[in-house]
Amino acid sequence: MSEKSNKLGACLQLFWSFFKIGALTFGGGAAMISFISAETVDKKKWITDEEMLDIVTVAESTPGPIAINTATFVGYRAAGVLGSVVATLGTVVPPFIIMLFIAAFFDFFKSIEAINYMFTGVRIGVIALILKAFLKMFSSCKKDAFFYVMFALAFCAVAVFGAGTIPVIISAGLIGVGSVLVSLRRAKK
């Protein structure tokens, strides 16, 4: 078999694996990573366990949703640039199709009175879900003085002073890089 047809076969397999991942994982992010790891490390052996750990680390510290970053990276490791495009497409297509249906029929659903009542309750449930996500991220973080200062600054900027989210995120990243520069300079002296 020529190398070219090999690569095509690998891409088809990648697409199918990530299509399943996109179609079957609920809740995104963390739930997806365990599924991706089971499929691509244990079953298909495209990447090793150690590589998977590195990939998750990279996915967490690069922009974009973790699930997409992980899919892109695994695809790249398995079959290069084409692999990363194919893996990303596979992850995106199932939710894309499902959401198209929901978007098309949402107004109809909303015209049903019982569903409207449910949503008045669900909005409160979602606030609890956001709290749950907040607590999970907050407790899994290493917390030093710098963390609390940054947390307070970002929170006040957005919630109290109504600053834009994007400038706050960019400044937070720059301040973080700045803190490294300061500690490097101190180490030199």
Binding site: G28, L100, G121
Partner: protein, 191 residues
């Protein structure tokens, strides 16, 4: 055409400024879609519930839904492409030397600043949503002495109990939906 490009650009920004995924992007998405008049605050909340109960990353669900509502199928396509592109571009660049990327002290430094900010944004989103649901017409004592508020507080209390018990998100959504249905039926029958 400009509308499609604007969708692409807006969701590109959302993809490029999300660190951590999922709920970390809620505040950013809320800000962008409400500022453009694409969604109301309450719709964003409804939508998080829908994302949570359908497969796929929240980011993709959100982009597809908003894009479709703004400009049909081409809109859904452009918004989804926008949210995915930053990941694709950045990972393709980094994939060759990711070992160096992981141990780079500037990357670690940037994350040291970004992580607390991302968590603070979740807290800010939660507070603005809570204000929207509990105080839709502003703060006054009269607003607190209604049956509706009693219902809301009981529902929140039950949901918080489930959060405390580390229940799965689906149970929290199901419970709150049942509370809403019950309250609606009570209103229909007695009021």
């Amino acid at each position: 055409m400009t509308e499609l490009l604007y969708l692409l650009w807006t969701f590109f920004k959302i993809g490029a400024c999300t660190f951590g995924g999922g709920y970390a992007m809620v505040e950013l998405v809320k800000e962008q879609v409400t500022a453009n008049g694409w969604m109301e605050m309450q719709e964003v909340l409804d939508f998080i519930a829908i994302s949570e109960s359908t497969p796929g990353p929240i980011a993709i669900n959100m982009a597809t839904y908003v894009g479709f509502n703004v400009a049909g199928l081409p809109g859904a396509f452009m918004a989804t492409a926008g949210v995915v592109l930053p990941s694709l571009i950045v990972i393709m660049i980094i994939a060759r030397f990711y070992k160096k990327f992981i141990v780079n002290s500037y990357v670690a430094g940037a994350m040291r600043g970004l992580r607390p900010a991302a968590i603070a944004l979740i807290a800010a989103a939660m507070i603005s949503f809570a204000a929207e649901v509990f105080l839709p017409v502003g703060f006054s004592v009269g607003n607190f002495l209604t049956f509706e508020m009693l219902f809301s507080v009981i529902t929140l209390g039950l949901c918080l109990f489930l959060v405390y018990k580390k229940a799965k998100p689906h149970y929290i959504l199901l419970l709150s939906a049942m509370c809403g249905l019950l309250w609606g039926s009570i209103q229909n029958i007695f009021m």
